[in-house]
């Protein structure tokens, strides 16, 4: 791997390591946010939800810092080849991470609202599983990034299909709940949005994994991103 040997100008190495370190830090914060948000939903823990919402600020600040730093590295170092891809990928990944963080914050916000209402049985476990799956994908994507492992990244891209499947299942489940008891509609709508956001998180993680492939191979992977969610096209029969 050509970026494992050092530059003659050691300051350049330090700059690159700096921004990659920042990305990993941001990734860590986002992973924690996902897990905490899911946990707070499952446990109906308002305090934790509040913590997640407050924590999003740090994530946004990191994104801004990363962009600033990346711009500086481009202006001062004029990176080429793999160094350029490192910097460009860092900028894109930070944008994706920031969106994931926003979704986690949104999840926490809705959790605060849901806590006021009576719980809906059966959904939280699935939601937590989904969140957990997304968090695992994110962790693997970041590992793939730091280890420059394109195989792992491609694997992460494939796993998004599972997340999409989980979303489909939850969607049907919520429809069922809503049709069963109209008093559930508000809560189910919130839960649905949570599920949708989690599915979107998975898409962003996929995007991160694609950046990893671009970084390692120099090309974006073929657009074979699995589109598992077919709910838009496949409307269940209302009469069921």
């Amino acid at each position: 791997m050509s970026d494992s040997t050092q530059h003659i100008a050691s300051a350049f190495d330090r700059d690159l390591e700096g921004i990659q370190g920042q990305i990993m830090k941001m990734g860590g914060l986002v992973e924690a946010a996902i897990l905490d948000a899911a946990q707070s939903l499952a446990d109906r823990d308002e305090e934790m939800a509040e913590k997640v919402r407050a924590g999003d600020k740090a994530i946004d600040e990191l994104e801004e810092l990363i962009n600033e730093t990346a711009a500086r590295v481009i202006a001062l170092r004029a990176p080429t080849a793999i160094d350029l891809r490192v910097v460009l990928s860092v900028m894109k990944i930070s944008a994706n991470l920031e969106r994931i963080g926003d979704y986690a914050k949104n999840m926490a916000k809705r959790t605060s609202v849901l806590v006021q209402m009576s719980p809906i049985n059966g959904s939280h476990a699935a939601l937590r599983r989904m969140a957990r799956e997304v968090q695992m994908m994110l962790k693997d994507a970041l590992d793939a990034y730091i280890q420059r492992d394109a195989e792992l990244a491609l694997d992460v891209i494939q796993r998004d299909r599972d997340v999409d499947q989980m979303y489909n299942a939850l969607f049907r489940e919520f429809l069922t709940f809503m049709m069963e008891d109209p008093r559930n509609i508000t809560a189910c709508m919130h839960l649905h949005f949570i599920a949708k956001n989690t599915e979107r998180m998975g898409d962003h993680v996929t995007s991160i994994a694609e950046q990893v492939v671009y970084l390692v191979t120099g090309q974006m992977p073929d657009d074979q991103r699995p589109k598992g969610d077919n709910v838009s096209f496949d409307m269940p029969d209302a009469k069921d």
Partner: protein, 265 residues
Amino acid sequence: MYDAPNLETRVTQTNTKITARGVQVFYGEKQALQDVNVDILDNTVTAFIGPSGCGKSTFLRCLNRMNDTIASARVEGEILLDGENIYDKRVDPVQLRAKVGMVFQKPNPFPKSIYDNVAYGPKIHGLTRSKAELDQIVEESLRKAALWKEVKDRLTEAGTGLSGGQQQRLCIARAIATAPEVLLMDEPCSALDPIATAQVEELIDELRASFSVVIVTHSMQQAARVSQKTAFFHLGNLVEYGDTSHIFTNPSDPRTESYITGRIG
């Protein structure tokens, strides 16, 4: 979880080493520099950039009074090194040049042995009392110039037998052997190939821990890579002076921006 290492962006608060106020330089009737005011900081690499003929080399040569060797040159204004005006009548330029060293564009080692090249400065300034001390200074200077490993077995060979990059590093070793406080470099890499250039730039980065470095360069990219503070000269005027990252990402003066983006010569 990864820790973000310390980024080399901001210059920590350091002392001012050289203060220039109202400096004007004339070559005969022609004015080469107008009213230059700048503070050069210690332990910092300051880059002077600008198009050809803008006065950056002229100003650099004022800092160690090399302009004295040009008969028609006249310098006005004051330049203070640690508070002392270097153009004061009582200052001997020879003594000044032991404190303010210079490295030139084309590597110019003396046609003597490598050892003698580095030892010459300390000898004539009487900085050592014994041969052992001189040996030590030579070794230290060559180490700091990242040349020791390559030449330690051939110190008696002629300095002119080295490659271009090695010769320039020898000239740097020679300049730092007199333990200067400021090191002036006039386009030191323009005669070198890219690898040698990168080695010298890395060396400059290491040297700034020991003293203040002022480098004139016609390569903006080099200034961007190597310096913490940058001064942009244009037509004999100092247009802008500030942090390097600021100048290269968002310069204050439109002329600076034009030059950096390649819109004016």
